[in-house]
């Protein structure tokens, strides 16, 4: 099953490679990984998408918690949450495709952020499956380039992910 795991980690050199190294060393897969500093700039927030059965996910969370730099780990699947991913996609937009791309972008609530005589670049935000649906809706319209951020997740409700009291 697909899981989104959020990690608060010390914002230090090598922190990312500790997490990435753990996954490769133990044979866990990483579908996507996003990392950036938080409001507290001594902390980084990582969002990691992985797949595995219950036991593997449990091990992943335990092993992440075992890393000395990791402050908190949360499996987004444990509670209601929102998932978003950013995709930038450049497609050929010539002749009959030009109108079609425009229309599809509109339907999927994408924004056209760059235009040339032969292409549109569309920005789209949504859960991963929505972005996938857009890609398949494009059908035979030639795609020049895709950049995806990987998923980000945040829990619903008033509570945030914070550093636990010592």
């Amino acid at each position: 099953m697909r899981h989104i795991i959020s990690i608060l980690i010390e914002n230090e050199a090598g922190a990312l490679s500790r997490v990435a190294g753990l996954f490769s060393a133990r044979g866990y897969n990483i579908e996507s990984l996003c990392v950036a500093p938080t409001v507290d700039e001594t902390l980084s927030r990582m969002t990691l998408v992985t797949r595995g059965d219950e036991q593997i996910i449990e091990q992943i969370i335990k092993q992440l918690n075992k890393l000395i730099d990791v402050i908190k780990v949360q499996d987004m699947a444990d509670a209601p949450h929102i998932e978003r991913e950013l995709m930038l996609i450049k497609v050929q937009a010539v002749e009959r495709y030009r109108e079609e791309v425009y229309r599809l972008a509109e339907i999927f609530r994408g924004q056209i952020i760059d235009v040339s005589e032969t292409s549109y670049t569309i920005q789209m935000v949504g859960p991963g499956h929505k972005l996938d649906a857009f890609l398949s809706a494009l059908g035979d319209i030639p795609v020049v380039e895709i950049v995806r951020s990987g998923a980000l997740g945040i829990a619903r409700g008033p509570r945030g992910m914070s550093v636990p009291e010592a």
């Binding site: 980690i9 010390e10 050199a13 090598g14 490679s17 500790r18 190294g21 060393a25 036991q55 449990e58 091990q59 335990k62 092993q63 918690n65 075992k66 000395i68 730099d69 990791v70 402050i71 550093v163 636990p164 010592a166």
Partner: protein, 566 residues
């Protein structure tokens, strides 16, 4: 007090009560060595290879329970140390390994003797640090010792660029009194609800089995474990790493379990209804085929590392906490419950176990004057009254030492159980001898393993560490040969050692005493003669039976009840 980085480092070691550093100098650590040279409190043991330094510190740590400290230079100094670091990591041994690094201005420039030590060691340490500013040095050292020795212990590498220890840069020094890491809070106390649940299961067991591991030794809980087992009168088996945590001479002890475990221990595991795992991690050499492991058991698992719980085997009652603290909480609860409740069932279970024991699975056939390796270990046990520190290398001799040297005390059996590092034995024995100069320290090895760290015989002479080396020389890489005999139709690919050195002369050339023993009737006399030489390192080259195998054996893929007995 204004000090340089080199001096600060030495002061940190003093503040941590470090009595010795095992190391090897080189360019990047010269400032540190200069600071070490100008004081007398922290001794330095000069090894002959950095791998030896780490194993020595490791042997010291295993024998004393205190962290071992290593100092090596950058580049090859650090890479040579990696095998030792990984060895300590797999067995959760507390080490602080200081590696020199090229100056910060050169990092990333492919400088002379530069290697990304933090990157290389990352997967085989508990944690590591690169200190880029001398002002961070003292705090980093404090954290390093704290992390290495708390929770599930392990090695911590501190990589220090040369400019950080520059004698011309002086800063105020004060060693931090305490340390707190917001991201690291090991759980010591077990969950009381879980403990009660476990006790309920434990006292109601009909066919119980205690399976304890290295965590009991590391957690200094041998006494609590012994009280626990005796209070319940339950059978107990130890893992390779846990030997000595429960007295081997006790009636309740069934010997080691696992691939080369005893018949009674493995059958007990297979048929038990409640398995009490204490500081053990369900290693593949212990469980055999997971699908066939303890098919009828409810499992209680006490471990300080939550990641060890339900990693290989899903357990029924997990308890995260230090073994000592959890057992201490359990003992009064068991007493209140009146101990084991199913007295009749337990008596029947013991009767069954005694039947298994009657198989006498560790008996072996003697053959005239051919030296049986098991016999040598038994005689070593006899002569040292079962009270020596025994370091072993890796292979058949390791298993024979584990099977035939009955340890009654913890911290006396020093072996590379997790990583299985050949070359570990000699330096580990030297580390233990350094810590306990008045105790008998034996290195049980083979002609293959000993050649992976023989150079440390020189260190032994320099620092007067008169251990006894018992080499079970069968001219084969015995464990490899055994697997080739069983599973490769006797095609002994590259497992025969030709052109062996004359070990007597080798020992003598290093300034020690060498002996070659070829007949079974000479074994005891030779051992007595060797152990009588209290002040000399004696290397005993026993020419043992080349065809002897380690039994019992659970072949890979089999269940614990499917043993090859002889």
């Amino acid at each position: 007090m204004e000090l340089s980085g080199g001096q600060i480092l030495v002061e940190c070691l003093k503040a941590e009560g470090v009595e010795a550093v095992f190391g090897y100098p080189g360019g990047a650590v010269l400032h540190i060595y200069d600071a070490l040279f100008q004081q007398e409190q922290v001794q330095h043991i000069l090894v002959r290879h950095e791998q030896g330094a780490v194993h020595m510190a490791d042997g010291y740590a295993r024998a004393t329970g205190k962290p071992g400290v290593v100092l090596v230079t950058s580049g090859p100094g650090a890479t040579n140390a990696v095998t030792g670091i990984a060895t300590a990591h797999m067995d959760s041994i507390p080490l602080v390994v200081i590696t020199g690094q090229v100056p910060t201005s050169l990092i990333g420039n492919d400088a002379f003797q530069e290697v990304d030590s933090v990157g290389i060691t990352r997967p085989c340490v508990k944690h590591n640090f690169l200190v880029k500013d001398v002002r961070d040095l003292a705090e980093t050292m404090k954290k390093a010792f704290y992390i290495a020795t708390t929770g599930r212990p392990g090695p911590v590498v501190v990589d220090i660029p040369k400019d950080v220890t520059d004698p011309r840069v002086l800063i105020p020094f004060e060693y931090p009194q305490s340390v707190s890491l917001r991201s690291y809070h090991p759980t010591v106390k077990g969950h009381s609800g879980q403990i009660r649940k476990a006790v309920d299961l434990i006292v109601n067991a009909e066919r119980p089995m205690i399976y304890s591991g290295g965590g009991v030794v590391l957690g200094r809980a041998a006494e609590q474990l012994t009280r626990f087992a005796r209070l319940l009168n339950y059978p107990i088996t130890n893992t390779l790493m846990g030997l000595g945590a429960y007295p081997a001479s006790d009636r309740q002890f069934l010997g080691m379990l696992g691939m080369h475990g005893t018949y009674e221990a493995n059958m007990g595991m297979h048929h038990c209804d409640v398995l009490i795992a204490i500081g053990a991690r369900f290693d593949d050499r212990v469980t055999g085929n997971l699908a066939k492991f303890c098919p009828t058991a409810k499992i209680v698992h006490i471990d300080i590392d939550p990641a060890s719980i339900s990693k290989n085997v899903v357990v029924d009652v997990p308890i995260v906490g230090s073994v000592k603290s959890v057992l201490e909480e359990m003992l009064p609860l068991i007493e209140d419950a009146g101990g084991a409740k199913q007295k009749e069932a337990i008596a029947a279970w013991w009767a069954q176990i005694e039947q298994w024991r009657e198989m006498r699975c560790l008996d072996y056939k003697t053959n005239g004057e051919v030296i049986k390796p098991q016999y040598v270990v038994q005689k070593v046990w006899e002569i040292t009254k079962g009270d020596a520190f025994v370091a072993s290398d890796v292979g058949q001799h390791q298993m024979w030492a584990a099977q035939y040297y009955g340890f009654d005390k913890p911290n006396r059996w020093l072996n590379s159980g997790g990583l299985g590092t050949m070359g570990f034995g000699l330096p580990a024995a030297l580390g233990a001898k350094f810590a306990f100069p008045d105790e008998e320290v034996v290195c049980v090895t083979g002609e293959g393993s000993i050649q992976m760290c023989t150079q440390e015989l020189s260190t032994a002479l320099q620092y007067h560490l008169p251990i006894k080396v018992v080499s079970l020389n069968n001219r084969y890489l015995g464990m490899v040969r055994q697997w080739q005999e069983f599973f490769y139709s006797g095609r002994y690919a590259m497992s025969y050692m030709e052109a062996l050195p004359d070990f007597v002369k080798l020992a003598e050339s290093y300034g020690h005493v060498g002996m070659r023993i070829e007949k079974a009737s000479d074994v005891e006399g030779a051992l007595r003669e060797a152990f009588a030489m209290r002040d000399r390192l004696v290397f005993m080259d026993f020419q043992t039976d080349p065809t002897e195998n380690v039994y019992p054996m659970v072949p890979a893929g089999a269940g614990l009840n499917e043993m090859i007995l002889v």
